[in-house]
Amino acid sequence: MKSRTLLRRTSARTLLAVGLAASLTFAAGCAKSEDDASGSGEAASGKGDSGQVVAGGDGGATCAIDAYGGKKFDLKTATVGFSQSEKEANPFRIAETASIKAEAEKRGVRLLTANAQSQFSKQISDVQDLIAKGADALVIAPLNSDGWEPVLRAASARHIPIVTVDRKINAKACEDYVSFIGSDFVEQGRRAADRMIEATGGKGEIAILLGTAGNNVTTERTKGFKERIEEKAPGLKVVFQQTGEFSREKGQQVTEQLIQSKPGITGIYAENDEMGLGAVNALKGAGKKAGDIKIVTIDGTKGAVRSIVSGWIDGVIESNPRFGPLAFSTLDSFTRGEKVKQDIVIKDSAYTGKNAEADLSQAY
């Protein structure tokens, strides 16, 4: 009996040891993934990173350092803090952080970074940390629009200029923060609608793959798209809208259900590239041919632009994540005492069959 217990113990110990050894092996880095040979550094190098271009003319409110409070300083000798909202796990966030880092390096600015990992309370404490560590200016990619009062109060007490990128904060511009730099999501929706009207000829039934519910990006991209469709192409009917939660897997599953219950569909509008690529998977699985159903997506990632080249996706409206150059030039002008605009809306380009191959290097 005793020996049996002993045996049992040892076998369990062996199991544990094997388990530990196995998990260590994973970390040891003997991994060899599919395309290690072919340019894995491609994404990081950021070729063709031309930064962003501001849309529109000189209209809109401006902000100058006298109105905001504080003293002029030279950005070159300053420390800038960057607070990222989500972990750099999707192409947009990766390109955004890389662009901020690259621009800081180019200008020789000392950059402090923090990542809130999608937790708003962490982002608040991140920003407080950045201020405590001596950031002279802040670039924030906010996770939420609301709830920023305590941090902004701390920052404005020290007259630290703040630029928010990609999402806006619900606070007073030029008082709580300096400027907002971002895309106009409603406009992106409108342009996607234009592309859809062109691709389908303005007739037929279309479906929308919505983003995550309760997210302003989802709401605004839907609003712009539907408004434009109603206004310009009454013959185009939205017969289906379900959330794909901005993920490829959900986009694929929902599209599979869609093409079975509504086989007559002529177009799919996916509110981001990942869901669009999921829809492509679903169409391939259902035996459709490239171009049978017109897909229009928003973002401009490499995968989606490649799918335009192969004919599965009809058009991609870009949402440019490369905020670095514009964020730093705004801070630079502001700290030198010049006026800067409170709302800086960037110009997003688009990819279609005509330019996808040539402009593939600009996709992120």
């Binding site: 049992r8 076998s11 369990a12 199991l15 544990l16 094997v18 388990g19 530990l20 196995a22 998990s23 994973f26 991994a31 060899k32 993934s33 599919e34 395309d35 290690d36 972990k87 750099e88 796990a89 999707n90 192409p91 990766i94 519910a213 017969v239 289906f240 809208q241 379900q242 959330t243 939660e245 993920s247 490829r248 897997e249 959900k250 694929q252 599953q253 929902v254 599979e256 259900q257 869609l258 079975q260 219950s261 509504k262 086989p263 990942e274 690529l277 999921g278 998977n281 391939k284 699985g285 259902a286 995968g303």
Partner: protein, 320 residues
């Protein structure tokens, strides 16, 4: 006279309730099928049933492992993270060939399972706490190994995800085979009997001289392996490794399938047929709501109603 009149219907009600507890999930599936056949256009087609079967396969495989864990009076919350880990490992090891990658992925799932089982069996941590720890750690490890979505272009993986044998897709065949295997193990093997005995009463099993620790470790290893298989099938179907979103909330879907299928959370019983039907029920429910283009929040509410009904049935059973 009055007593009799009151007594008879009460007994009938008990009887009906007991029947509902045992066969309610099958009834639910039948009702949903009927509703869809009547009201959903293009529902009665081979292609549609294939789609539903392919979509339910990963959930079902995970639920099988979950049923074992719940049968041993535990729970495995780490299954979603194991799926993410498995997808990361596939992407990392695909360079060595598809078989190596698949084996490594399953070994990874078994390693997480071994860690879960050791925490539960040797250190005596509550299953919910132990597997919660590995749920967090597993997802973290998956993201360290593969920080972002990566396309999988291997043709073998693609055919695993979308290929078929005699018109039945591989994922469905694999899920069916695993369901039969697990059902056999639970009903016909010593291991299955020991598992149920431990789930019924761990002290009694210990006193009876059953190898409690070994069985518990094996239960979680099996659950980890099954979750890893679900992860690799999901990867093959997506033709991409996406450790950020793959397997999110999978533990809840799996627990729902098991509980709705009539396996009590108090352990000691495992109903594999019910688990399969439970997974199918949730899938059909989601499909119905999507096909009729109802708001996504309705799906969650409908799932919640199903869970409440299942738990209500389970409560009645324990009172009996």
């Amino acid at each position: 006279m009055t007593d009799l009149a009151l007594g008879r219907p009460a007994a009938d009600r008990d009887h009906v309730l007991r029947l509902l507890q045992t066969y309610g999930v099958y009834l639910g599936v039948a009702v949903l099928l009927l509703v869809n056949i009547l009201f959903t256009p293009h529902f009665l087609s081979g292609e549609n049933f294939r789609t539903q079967a392919v979509q339910v396969a990963p959930v079902l495989i995970v639920a099988l492992g979950m049923a074992l864990a719940i049968g041993s009076e535990g729970v495995d919350l780490s299954v979603g993270s194991v799926m993410a880990l498995s997808t990361s490992l596939i992407s990392l090891y695909l360079g060595y060939g598809v078989w190596v990658a698949l084996v490594v992925a399953v070994l990874g799932g078994m390693a997480v399972g071994a860690a879960n089982g050791s925490l539960v069996a040797f250190i005596g941590v509550q299953p919910i706490v132990a597997t919660l720890a590995l749920m967090v750690a597993g997802r973290g490890l998956a993201l360290v190994l593969l920080p972002q979505l990566k396309d999988v272009r291997d043709p073998n993986m693609a055919s695993l995800g979308s290929g078929a044998l005699l018109g039945i897709p591989y994922p469905v065949l694999i899920a069916a085979a695993l369901a039969l295997l697990v059902a056999f193990v639970v009903r016909r093997t010593t291991f299955g009997r020991q598992l149920l005995a431990i789930g019924d009463s761990r002290p009694a099993a210990q006193l009876a001289g059953l190898p409690v620790r070994r069985v518990l470790v094996l239960v979680y290893v099996a659950s980890g392996a099954l979750a890893a298989i679900a992860g690799l099938l999901a990867t093959a179907r997506l033709s991409a490794s996406d450790p950020t979103s793959l397997g999110n909330l999978m533990e809840l879907s799996a627990i729902t399938a098991v509980v709705v299928g009539g396996t009590p959370l108090s352990g000691g019983r495992v109903r594999i047929g019910g688990t399969v039907a439970g997974a199918v029920l949730i899938q059909l429910l989601t499909a119905t709501l999507i096909k009729h283009d109802l708001p996504p929040s309705w799906t969650q509410i409908a799932q919640a109603v199903v869970i409440v009904l299942a738990v209500y049935a389970a409560r009645e059973r324990s009172k009996r």
